[in-house]
Symmetry: C2
């Protein structure tokens, strides 16, 4: 027994007790005849006190302790002279009688503090030290909690946790597969799953009508910021269900997670079609923590001889609450922002509706007082607001104004980190049409079932077919998505054909699934949530990397392990492989 | 809403209710004017009834349903004429008003029954149909339950679930690694983890003092019966603990699992040293469901002029309760059994202690009445028992008699499938000495700490050093094992050296861990249980394959997916690889 209490649990009621404690030396301070050491573990920090007068030898030993030394102490809980209300254990300190140094520590390459002096690369190399920092620890604890409450909720809903294999068959499902050469079957490869999609559908065919798994998935992508080659999904599937059943079940999951981890109660998750989301928010993952809907201004802007509007495919605006106060500099900065290549607008027009009733636009030459009044009316702006207008090609402009909406909200601090606003986005298109290659891609994945009302359009105008697909967005981030699946072999074949798979290719890649559909496949559907992403959004972070214990960097390397790395020639020979 | 009730929940109290149900047609029977259809889902079977007189059209439709068709019905719950007490829903049946065929089914390639007519290969190819069978379903439900109760128990003990990476660095840790070629770092490879061993130790260095994870692990072994290239571990680690803390914590886990899944209460898990286990049971995973300890008979067998005994390194016996009744044929069959090459004994000697007090051995020529009496005394046999004796080389004989003990118990049905007898085996040797290569191997793994009392032997006689290592065996199967780890860089280096790693090799493979030990590594230890194995033992099965939803066959192939398989040349080129 190394300890009787941890560093987070002592309070006034323990005063007088003898305790044995372990932990790391966070810091120490010498104040006259006293030495104070902050002892840290997963549970908190406890102040240890040593008195030079009463035990100089022990006090000297305490003074010799370096940062991050691991020690065990025996001592007595006493009341603190000056109570620290910021600390859980701030009412007490421990007068130490005995120290055992369990392990020494070199001076860490960066400080183990909430705000550390260590750069990104250094912290990744010494990830085991970075993990000691409070904010990182809290992230991993949050993740553990989210996973636990997810499992408990789904278990209570009758879901079975079923593991699907990691060594599977390579199938082109969006991104590239990681592959694993087989030694016993030389020249052949397993693939790592991009998701357990086909397996969970097979489980439905097998009659396991409520399946879930929290599972690692793998994508060999060209690394971008905040993508990881391995990531974790909360993967779920149900049989004998319609969209409504799934939305209800997983709305419940999200409510449960938010309540258990944040104490926040959500009444109801609103729903919105994909078309409406694009129209009103310029994105399929709207941030509903603030209003600022996008307005179509074509009727009041076009036909006034202002060529920018007249020649534009669309004219869209967004009202900035209180924006009449914006300075010239603030507006210029927004104009520069929308003109960045990632946003792609050619310019920005504004109109201030000042408190006095006077309206002032950047295009007063072309629009008179009554025109501006009609802008105010149609956009629903109030005195003191400002209307921002973008015009141009439809697809670019809707995307740009959606981004502008978020940027303005960010600058106005309207994206409250303590608010949680999930939303279901439904009725996604089944296909995306790639103008370059003139081919269709599955918007969700090739197993998604078309909306039954649009079945005829499959033949005539595939890109207008809506899918039985839904995403959940939370605070402007997509955290999950799914669909009702196809469970009929002929329909599946038709969709594969529309996606450009020949019958042979479809058979080679998904023959087992097509065959399974011939032995009594039930109607089914499901959803997958990104666990890393849910944690990041709940904690108000942009980066999933902060919620992964041992992440890879943006080049897919684990710099702590130094992986990937070369392997022995013997190993290559056994696999029947040569590197070029 | 496809259904209002499932097929496992209706009873007398539902009589008169209108219900909508879904499921698979298990079988149908035409009896005169009535047709009965058994409708099956995950929850059970409900009998549907159709009456030719009252609705001939519907009854004809019912008669046209094939096995494994997926249907939806609307009907009314009625009392059964003849109650079936074997069935959960045997009190009622459902008089059907409406059938919708949700999907048809071809005739399955084998029967979906508890005892199926499908051979192993066929069932693997159509695994999704095999998974419909009740015994397979119950296995997966058991697995889901074991995982859930494991998580709940560990969470309640303060453990955090932390995920460790799957794409890691190749390290020679016992078996061969599966490797994953990197596209972005051509010529380099990730490896799949054989276990998260080093990561969980790093988490201890990071201060996460109670870690667990239910995690896939990978070993590229030459396949043997009942090995899978991917398998699942309940992986745990704790800091600031001694062996005692770990045994107490995980004894609690096993009690909890057995109670929650089987309703069985275990008082206390007995402990036994490795040396005692080998001496008394001839194995480090003793089956304690029955006694039959191995007896050393050297003192009463040697020196009587019987060369088989006199020239043997050891003479060991085991008492067969009631064995005096064994026929000549039964004894011969056992003799043949111990002489099989897997067992390796050269012969077997027996001595019956008959009920009348008369003793009769197969070596009466060499041993007189008083000698046999001394055998009886030393072995503790009673009238009616039989003593079986093996003699020969120590290592072979102890192993052979351990196996003989199990075989006899099996034949006498002493291995009661309803009894659960876990045992801790402790004090394993730290090293195994390989006589052929004259090198030491780590018995557990190279991170295992030596027993502090044996520290000096590290220099003088490494193979006598005991480890702080422990296994849990249940009913004769090892289900888990672990150790207190080394947390000191110098000691770790010394052990690596004894294992034949040069300092450079040790640094290259485990540099990050050695370095981590310099920054305040706490004392720590842990354990890993085989989830597949726990489920198999609890269900009384020999094979882990039955507890994996989509297992590989003995050549490491998934015959359903047809994986591993060839990949495109483009894909190979991208990876910078050539197959030979």
């Amino acid at each position: 027994m190394y300890r009787t209490v941890n560093n987070g649990e002592l309070s006034k009621k323990n005063i007088g007790q003898q305790v044995t404690m372990c932990g790391w030396v966070q810091k120490s301070r010498d104040l006259g005849g006293m030495t104070f050491v902050d002892l840290r573990d997963r549970y908190g920090i406890t102040q240890l006190v040593f008195n030079m007068e009463t035990n100089s030898e022990l006090c000297e030993k305490a003074r010799s302790l370096g940062r991050e030394f691991v020690i065990q102490i025996v001592g007595k809980v006493i009341e603190r002279a000056s109570i620290n209300k910021e600390m859980k254990t701030g009412e007490i300190e421990v007068a130490v009688d005995q120290i055992i140094i369990l392990n020494k520590s070199k001076i860490p390459p960066f400080t183990i503090e909430d705000q550390t002096d260590g750069g990104d690369d250094l912290r990744m190399k010494y990830r085991y030290l970075d993990l000691r920092r409070e904010p990182v620890k809290n992230n991993l604890i949050l993740r553990s909690e989210v996973a636990f409450h997810t499992r408990t909720y789904l278990k209570n809903q009758g879901f079975l946790e079923i593991e699907t294999p990691v060594l599977i068959k390579s199938t082109p499902e969006g991104a590239r597969d990681f592959v694993v050469p087989s030694r016993l079957n030389q020249g052949e490869f397993y693939a790592l799953p991009q998701s357990p999609q086909t397996f969970k559908q097979l489980l439905m065919v097998s009659g396991y009508d409520k399946y879930y798994q929290i599972v690692k998935c793998f994508r060999d992508e060209d690394f971008r910021a905040d993508r990881q080659p391995e990531f974790t999904q909360i993967d779920c599937e149900m049989a004998f269900v319609e969209t409504e059943d799934i939305l209800k079940t997983f709305e419940g999951l999200m409510k449960n997670i938010l309540f258990e981890t944040k104490g926040i109660k959500i009444d109801e998750v609103p729903r919105m079609t994909y078309a409406d989301a694009i129209r009103d928010y310029g994105t399929d993952k709207p941030d509903l923590r603030f209003e600022m809907k996008i307005m179509n201004l074509e009727s009041v802007c076009k036909g006034s001889g202002f060529n920018v509007f007249d020649s534009a495919e669309t004219v869209l605006g967004v009202v900035v609450p209180g924006g009449a106060e914006f300075t010239r500099k603030q507006i210029d900065s927004l104009t520069d922002w929308v003109k960045r290549p990632q946003i792609g607008a050619t310019g920005m027009i504004y109109c201030k509706f000042n408190e006095g009733g006077e309206n002032k636009s950047s295009v007063d030459k072309f629009f008179d007082v009554s025109a501006l009044k009609s802008w105010k009316e149609i956009s629903g702006a109030s005195d003191g607001d400002m209307l921002l207008i973008l015009a141009g090609k439809k697809s670019v402009t809707i995307n740009a104004i959606g981004n502008l909406r978020l940027e303005v909200a960010e600058r106005l601090s309207l994206r409250d980190p303590n608010l949680y606003k999930p939303v279901w986005v439904t009725d996604f298109p089944l296909f995306e049409f790639d103008e370059e290659t003139k081919t269709y891609h599955a918007m969700h994945h090739p197993f998604t079932s078309p909306n039954i009302d649009d079945m005829k359009l499959l033949e005539t105008d595939p890109k207008m077919v809506r899918a039985n697909a839904y995403d959940m967005a939370l605070n402007g981030t997509e955290i999950g998505g799914g669909s009702i699946r196809i469970h009929n072999k002929e329909l599946q074949q038709k969709v594969f054909n529309l996606l450009g798979f020949s019958d042979e290719e479809a058979h080679e890649k998904f023959g087992f699934l097509m065959e399974a559909f011939e032995y009594g496949a039930p109607p089914h559907g499901g959803i997958a949530f990104g666990l890393d992403r849910i944690c990041a959004v709940i904690a108000g972070s942009d980066s999933i990397r902060d919620f992964i214990a041992f992440p890879k960097n943006n080049s897919g390397r684990d710099v702590m392990l130094d992986a990937p790395s070369k392997i022995d020639n013997d190993q290559l020979n056994e696999l029947g492989l040569q590197t070029k």
